[in-house]
């Protein structure tokens, strides 16, 4: 049986590289979040993460405060989900998807949802 190991140095190097990329592909201020939503839908992110990024077959994206570099790493070098390489999903498009995900508004607090509050 093969056991896969990933060196912490490798992970660190990747994160460094991706954080570096973060500065190289700064957000285009002219691109609205709705544009990112269109990409989120057309690239089928919603299939596993839900239309609102709430998760489902895959992890919740909405409300998570991770940096773009980590987001990009998950998309480019995933463990379980399909890998989206740059030639199919450019860094610029990926950034717009990220901006959309970050812009998804917070849902109502639990205390404001009777069905959840009453069943705590």
């Amino acid at each position: 049986m093969t056991v896969l190991h990933t060196s912490p140095w490798t992970i660190g190097a990747l994160l460094l590289l991706l954080f570096g990329l973060n500065t190289a592909f700064a957000q285009d201020p002219a691109a609205p979040a709705s544009d990112g939503k269109e990409l989120y839908l057309s690239y089928q992110c919603w299939q596993c993460h839900g239309y609102e990024g709430q998760g489902g077959a895959a992890a919740r994206l909405a409300g998570k405060q991770y940096p773009y570099a980590a987001f990009a790493r998950f998309v480019r070098h995933p463990n379980l989900m399909p890998a989206y390489p740059p030639n199919l999903l450019s860094d610029e498009k990926l950034r717009r998807i990220f901006d959309y995900v970050r812009s998804i508004p917070e849902p109502p607090p639990l205390e404001d949802i009777p069905a959840l509050r009453e069943n705590k």
Binding site: T2, Y43, L88, L110, A115, K120
Partner: protein, 651 residues
């Protein structure tokens, strides 16, 4: 014959039936008691012999006919009447069927001789539906119903659902019509609907089948079939019923119905159980994983006792309910990776308790458990296995493998664990309990937190769907008759589930088309107990055999169905997307091809209405879900099925 007329028309075979039924009742107690009651050929003392008037009535001939005409026109005592007596002797309440000429003899006997009561015929527009109804029914009722299949064509329609039942270890008694004698077949269809061995199409995934050549052979095979189906590992069985045997005169044959003595489930070897107990007691981090373990509430209660004695977390793999999700020892699958000893109870795939095979280009196994984890397996999977279909999963060399029904073995294991618990070990339980209580509370809080997201979204979030339902059913005696695996397991994450009948697992073979008919079959069993049966119906599944909603309406089977309608086969979306990713093409929109149910979107509410069900929808706004379910519940409370179509998020 109407049931109310039966007292006036009791004949010799009904007498035999009564006697045999008494024998089955005795057999349902214990083997010893059954053996005492089963003295071959002797009716139980409770059955009175037929009176002279009853005997005379049995031999009335039609007037105005010669003996030769009587012989040519009429059958006084058809063989299928005796077959019905055998079925009655087994306490089978229902027979699901799509009518077919190869069993017209027994069809008539069930209706006019048996009074269409215990068993009652349930009309099904498709054999796949008929078997899947039996599948859902058995998991709730704890006993099989019978399914009547047309030779050749009926079996081919039924095959997929039989496979699901086989994989899910569920007993079903399938009766198949056939015409064995070629010289007795009418030209045309009777030939097309006959086979040397009609059960061949399902032989790889039934426990046993037979093709009796006489009525006495049939009686004995029925008892054997039932016994085999109900012995763990349970599964479907087939008994063919020859057209000639059904329709021909019994004549002066001396027939008897043998008693059915149930086999006690196998229990694990005592020494091996003691060794398992030692490992569990000595473990620093024991974890229990349960899959198709609890046959009924006793299984759940026993597992609670074992887990509490050890203060060991239970990972419910949810082939059955197995363990209350409200219990502090109900924990997530991540605990398997931290365990030093894992006890697997009826786990279908023990390999995956400590391993995984990622869906990558190169499929390289990964160890996900600790390298020193020892695995104990208790179950019946090794006791009965076939070769062709590979549902038995990857070979796994458990460190201690015990053949025995897990539910039946648990009492011995509990006693052995208690006997080996030292005071020092027992003292650690307080700390363990506190840790698991905290972990359980965190998991609950996380589920509620996750449910907030997309709460007001349209399409409706699956968490919202389940909570709208919950608000309306939580004060009732409710039971899920569907699974929630494709809906992010929200029922398990949000609803308290404590009773065995509140969740019955999934299809077994992952054959789509199980959901709707199994839900109706489950609801049929719940009807007798006055419970509210709830089906969260997937749209793709519903498209297979939607006729089952007609069956529910026709037979007045109360069932609340609410759809998780995501307009497609979403698991397949992800598979197509994965393939496109590997091949670096089409990632921006090709994955809907072949996977969407749109253009036009099937109007599921109209389909249900067309089948005679009250229906509402499609509903897209979350605020409209609760009121629609409330109206549907009024219908269900009147003993009818109701259907609410809700357009939902993918998962």
């Amino acid at each position: 014959m109407k049931p109310s007329d039966k007292g006036e028309r009791l004949n010799r075979r009904e007498f035999l039936s009564t006697a045999a039924a008494a024998g089955v009742a005795a057999a349902a107690l214990t083997n010893t008691e059954a053996a005492a009651a089963q003295e071959a050929g002797k009716p139980a003392a409770a059955a009175a012999p037929p009176t002279a008037a009853q005997l005379a009535m049995e031999y009335d001939d039609p007037v105005g006919y010669s003996a030769a005409e009587v012989d040519d026109y009429f059958v006084k005592h058809p063989g299928s009447d005796f077959m019905v007596d055998c079925i009655k002797a087994l306490d089978i309440d229902y027979i699901t069927t799509n009518p077919g000429s190869s069993f017209r003899g027994i069809h008539e006997s069930i209706v006019n001789y048996g009074g269409n009561s215990r068993p009652e015929l349930l009309t099904c527009p498709h054999e796949e539906q008929a078997v899947a109804m039996a599948h859902g029914y058995a998991k709730v009722a704890g006993k099989p119903l019978a399914m009547l299949a047309h030779g050749t064509v009926g079996f081919q329609h039924a095959a997929m659902a039989v496979y699901n039942a086989w994989c899910d270890r569920v007993p079903i008694v399938i009766l198949g019509g056939n015409h064995f004698d070629a010289t007795e077949r009418r030209a045309g269809v009777e030939w097309a609907h006959s086979a040397q061995d009609a059960a061949t199409v399902v032989k790889d995934y039934v426990k046993w089948d037979d093709a009796p050549h006489s009525l006495q052979h049939f009686a004995e095979s029925m008892m054997r079939a039932y016994k085999i189906a109900m012995t763990p590992p349970m599964g479907p069985v087939v008994v063919m019923i020859d057209g000639h045997l059904q329709e021909a005169e019994v004549g002066n044959q001396s027939l008897r119905i043998p008693a059915m003595s149930p086999t006690q489930p196998p229990v694990g070897d005592a020494n091996a159980v003691a060794e398992a107990a030692r490992w569990l007691v000595e473990a620093e981090a024991p974890v229990i994983a349960a899959d198709r373990m609890a046959h009924d509430q006793r299984g759940i209660d026993r597992l609670v006792e074992l887990a509490e004695v050890l203060q060991a977390p239970v990972v419910n793999l949810r082939g059955r309910l197995n363990f209350p999700n409200t219990h502090h020892l109900s924990q997530g699958g991540g605990e398997l990776g931290r365990a030093d000893v894992i006890l697997g109870l009826e786990v279908n795939d023990p390999w995956s308790l400590v391993n995984s095979l990622p869906d990558r280009v190169h499929r390289v196994p990964q160890r996900r458990g600790r390298p020193d984890t020892r695995v104990i397996s208790i179950g019946v999977n090794d006791l009965f296995i076939k070769s062709n279909y590979q549902n038995f999963q990857r070979y796994f060399a458990a460190d201690l493998s015990i053949a025995g029904d897990a539910q039946a073995t648990l009492p011995a294991l509990i006693e052995a664990v208690k006997a080996q618990m030292s005071r020092a070990r027992s003292r650690t339980n307080a700390e363990r309990k506190q840790r698991w209580q905290e972990s359980h509370a965190k998991r609950r809080a996380a589920s509620l937190e996750a449910a907030r997201y997309a709460w007001d979204a349209s399409p409706v979030s699956t968490a919202r769907l389940y909570m709208e339902l919950w608000q309306l059913v939580k004060d009732r005696d409710w039971a899920m008759v569907s699974e929630d695996r494709q809906q992010s397991q929200w029922a398990n994450r949000l609803w308290p589930m404590e009773k065995a009948y509140q969740f019955i697992g999934g299809s077994g073979g992952a054959g789509v088309g199980y959901g709707a008919p199994a839900a109706v079959g489950g609801a049929l069993a719940h009807r007798a107990e006055g419970r509210l049966a709830i089906n969260v119906q997937r749209d793709g599944d519903m498209m297979y055999v939607p006729g089952v909603f007609w069956t529910a309406a026709h037979h007045r089977i109360p069932l609340l169905t609410v759809t998780h309608n995501n307009r497609g086969y979403h698991q397949e979306f992800m598979h197509l997307q994965r393939m496109a990713s590997r091949r670096q093409r089409g990632m921006d929109g090709s994955s809907h091809v072949g996977n969407m149910l749109s253009d036009p979107e099937p109007d599921l509410a109209k389909i249900a209405a067309g089948m005679g069900c009250w229906s509402a929808g499609p509903i897209t706004a979350p605020r409209d879900v609760g009121p629609a379910i409330k109206r549907a519940l009024d219908v269900v409370d009147n003993g009818e099925p109701a259907f609410v179509d809700v357009v939902c998020q993918p998962r």
